[in-house]
Each structure stands twice: as C-alpha cells, then as structure tokens.
C-alpha cells in the first residue's frame, strides 16, 4: 500500500499542477488572450493564434531534464526553435512576402519610398531610448528594430545580437503590429489638419512588366552592396519578387507565397510563443521592451507623417501626409489604417493603393536598418 501511495505521490510531483507557479499562470493567461484576439477579434490571426498556442505550450510546467521544454537540448521544440535562433525562418518568410508583394505602386511613384525611409527613424530613436534605459548596445539594437514593425526582421536581428531577448522582442513586435489600427489613428489625426487629410492623390501611371522584373534585381544589388548584412533578408525578398514577376517561374512563386510561408509561419509562431517561458519572460527588461515597443511604433508613425508634410513644402504635387503612417511596415495593416482615416474625412478618397508604396518600401527600409545595426554591433 505504501508503494502505491509513493508512486502516486511521485507521479503528482511531476505533474504541471505541482510544478506550476504564478509566472506560468500569468503567461498562460497571456497566451489565451492572444488566441482570443486572433480568433474572436481577427487581429492578425495567422500570427497571434500560433504564437498564443505556443505560449501555452511553453508554459506547461515540466520537470527539467526530460528533454521536453524548448530550452532543453534534444527536445522537439528545441530542434524546431533552431530555425529561429539560427535566423533561418525569417529569410524564408521574406521569400514568401516577396512572392506575394506587388511593387508597382511604389515603382509608379518612387517619391513615396522616402516615407518608408522616414518611418525607420522609429528604429534608431528606440535604439537611443533603449540605451538610455540601461540596455547593452546589442540588446538596444534588437529592441530598436521593433520600430521597423517587421516581425521576421525583429526576430532575425534578435537571433544574431540578443538571442536571450527573442521571446519578449517577438511578442512585443507582433503584439504592436496587431494593434496598429489602435496605435496609429490618434497620432495621424494629431499631426495632420483636416485639409491635409482631404488631399487626393493623382492616379499612378501604369508600370510595365519589364520594370517589375528589373526592379528586384537592381534593388537587391543596390541595397546589399550598401548594407551587405541585410543580404539574407533582402536577398530572399527580392528573389521571391523576381520569381513572381518573371512569370516563367510561377510554380516556384506559388509555392513560396503559399505552402512555404505558411509552414514557416506555423513553426516560427509556435516556437517563438513557446520561448516565452514565465521564468524567462517575466522580467523587468521585458516590461522595458514592451514600453519601448509601444513608443517605437508611435515614433515611426509620427516620423513618416511629418516627413510627408516636409515633402509637401517643396513639392508641387502634394502628398496626403496620412501616407507617411504607412511607412510603418506592418503590411498591409498600416496601409488599411491610412485608407480608413482618409475615408473618415472623405469617403471618396481611396488611399489604399497609394499607401502600399511606402508600406512595401518600409519593408526594404527596415531590412536595411537591421543590416546596418548588425554591422555596427559586429
């Protein structure tokens, strides 16, 4: 009888119920919140559902040493997490993004690319803010890239410079990307007048197929000669785009923008979520990262809008300054936000396709910024 009771006692001591503490409970609540936001509210469900469930998986209390948790060698999650820590998953996601992105609005009006560049101020100002809060330079650079509003880029740079912070940085980046419709509009209204919001954009010219084929080749060569550290991300982005635009490799483009990106998104989401174990994630630095992340999105939005107003001082053809907010490269949510805020003033003002220009140039800009920060920190 004693043996049976002892066995039950040993079994109970190895269950999650016995091993749990308040940190795991908090993180499980966070995971459930992400799943709720993704499914019920449709906030970036392709990201929040895998990440949310990954948080649940990562915060099941397990007995250390059995090779179950993500930070233990020989665990399945650890092997899958290798794609995050080695920086493999983000370039593969960029391959799919390139294969589904239409750069024609940007090619039709290249001036709008500068709004994407201006929004990257959020990266460097957040970098300064992180240094001021006492973070080490490598950590500060990884936190700063949250301002680029690009999840794969943030994960890629964190994996290279601050692997310990991948979890909170990824969670912060994806959370704020999902909250772009909440964060951006008040800043956009504050920094623009009604008259400016009513500006209609001129119809964009038609872009030839040859231009769309030349662009990824020229863009890749220029950007990677300038910032070679951006090679993995921008190389895959432009390669994916070339596959799409050249037509002759449509089968490969189709795979890149469907099966491949979906598989990598699943693995990246679930492992990043699982990396946020309560004992690792709930620290003072995570709180600092979340505060800086919110600030970075705000600064990036403001930078883009203000730069658009500066361009209008010198340009005869006026740009609707709301487009500056689309320089935050949360594709296509920030472009949709621009459309929404513009249509609040004038339902006949269709800004979405124009906003895609700074939106996609922001993807390029944030990858270049990541490459620049990586090369500086090395």
């Amino acid at each position: 009888m004693d043996d049976i009771l002892k066995l039950f006692a040993d079994f109970w001591s190895n269950t999650g119920f016995a091993l749990a503490d308040y940190r795991y409970i908090i993180m499980i609540a966070v995971g459930l919140t992400f799943i709720y936001l993704g499914i019920a509210k449709h906030y970036e469900p392709l990201l929040l559902v895998p990440i949310g469930f990954g948080i649940l998986m990562g915060n099941i209390p397990v007995f250390k040493g059995l090779g179950l948790a993500i930070y233990e060698d020989n665990s399945v999650l650890h092997y899958l997490y290798f794609g995050v820590t080695s920086g493999v998953y983000p370039p593969l996601i960029f391959l799919g993004i390139g294969a589904m992105t239409d750069f024609s609005t940007m090619l039709a009006r290249p001036t709008l690319m500068l709004l994407g560049a201006a929004a990257q101020m959020g990266v460097f100002l957040t970098f300064l803010g992180a240094l001021a809060l006492g973070f080490a330079p490598n950590d500060a650079a990884s936190i700063g890239i949250i301002g680029g509003a690009d999840g794969p880029t943030a994960i890629f740079l964190s994996a290279k410079l601050a692997p310990d912070l991948i979890g909170p940085i990824a969670i912060a980046a994806y959370s704020y990307m999902a909250l772009v419709p909440v964060i951006q509009p008040p800043i956009m209204r504050l920094l623009t007048t009604r008259q400016e919001r009513l500006i209609h954009m001129e119809e964009a010219r038609e872009v030839s197929k040859l231009e769309k084929i030349i662009f990824p080749i020229v863009g890749f060569l220029l950007c990677c000669f300038l910032a070679p550290a951006a090679l993995p991300l921008l190389g895959m982005l432009f390669f994916g785009n070339l596959l799409k635009e050249c037509v002759v490799a449509e089968r490969l483009a189709q795979t890149a923008r469907t099966a491949l990106i979906d598989i990598v998104t699943i693995l990246l989401g679930i492992t990043v979520g699982a990396s946020t174990q309560g004992d690792v994630f709930l620290t003072a630095s995570s709180v600092g990262i979340f505060i800086l992340g919110a600030g970075s999105f705000g600064v990036a939005t403001a930078s883009g809008v203000i730069f658009a107003k500066i361009i209008n001082l010198f340009s005869k053809a006026k740009i609707n300054p709301l487009l500056g907010a689309a320089g935050v490269s949360a594709v296509p949510d920030s472009a949709r936000v621009v459309q929404m805020v513009g249509q609040e003033e004038d339902p006949g003002n269709f800004l979405l396709m124009h906003a895609m220009a700074p939106n996609v140039s922001g993807v390029i800009g944030s990858a270049v910024a990541a490459g620049v920060l990586w090369s500086f920190m090395n």
Partner: protein, 135 residues
C-alpha cells in the same frame, strides 16, 4: 549607466545618425534609379525597333498573312505572351491561352489578347485555332 550618459558612452548618437543616413541614402538612390527605368526601357526598345526596320514592300507581292503592326505597347504584350505560346505550341486554342494567362497572373489577358489579334500578332488558321506571328 542610464540616460544621456549611457547613450554617449555607447556611441549611440553617431550610430543613430549614420544609420538613418545610410537607410535614407539607400532608398533615395533606389528611388532615383527607379525613375530612370522607363527611360532605360524606352532606349532599349528604341534600339530594338531601329534594328528591325521593315523592308520596303514591292508592288507585285501579295503576302498571304498580314504583317503584325508592332508598337511599344504591343511589344510588351508580345514579350509577355511569347513564353506561353512557346510552351503551348502552335496552333493553339484561344480559351486555353486566356486560362493560362490568368493562372500566370498576367494583367487583363482578354484585353491584351484582343490587342494582339487586332495587331495581327495572333491570327486564325481557319480551323478554329490560332497562330503566332510576332517577329
């Protein structure tokens, strides 16, 4: 170390200023290059057109098929559809060409194919199929 002292100690100001300048320089340069694309393409197409000047037509010759009227917009369409026609082989079915063009993501295939027919690049073979006459 916190605040402005920490930023100065880690060379934060210089990194930020240079970083922003590099990002701006890259995107400004790229935008300037993109502005040149239409001119470069026009230059290339102008050279191609000058190389393929049609010979003066003799009065007594009566060509069986019409010579395709190629202008710049048709040239672009010819280039897009050449690959599809090579893949399909001749003579080809017009509905099948439209279906493939849609699958490949070509813009406005009905309108483009109509242009090619009007320009006599695509011509019927009088047996319900079509032939490609681009040169």
């Amino acid at each position: 170390m916190y605040g402005l002292e920490a930023i100065s100690h880690h060379n934060g100001w210089a990194i930020s200023i240079v970083g922003i300048l590099i990002v701006f320089t890259g995107l400004v340069t790229l935008s300037l290059l993109i502005r040149l694309f239409p001119n470069i393409i026009a230059l290339i197409e102008g050279k191609e057109q000058s190389k393929t000047q049609p010979e003066p037509q003799k009065e007594h010759t009566q060509p069986k098929t019409q010579k395709p009227a190629i202008n710049n917009s048709i040239k672009e369409a010819v280039r897009q559809y050449q690959h599809l026609i090579s893949w399909m082989g001749e003579p080809f079915s017009l509905p099948r060409l439209i279906e493939l063009a849609e699958k490949r993501g070509l813009v406005r295939p009905h309108s483009t194919i109509n242009q090619l027919i009007h320009a006599s690049v695509i011509q019927p073979d009088d047996k319900g199929f079509f032939l490609w006459h681009a040169r």
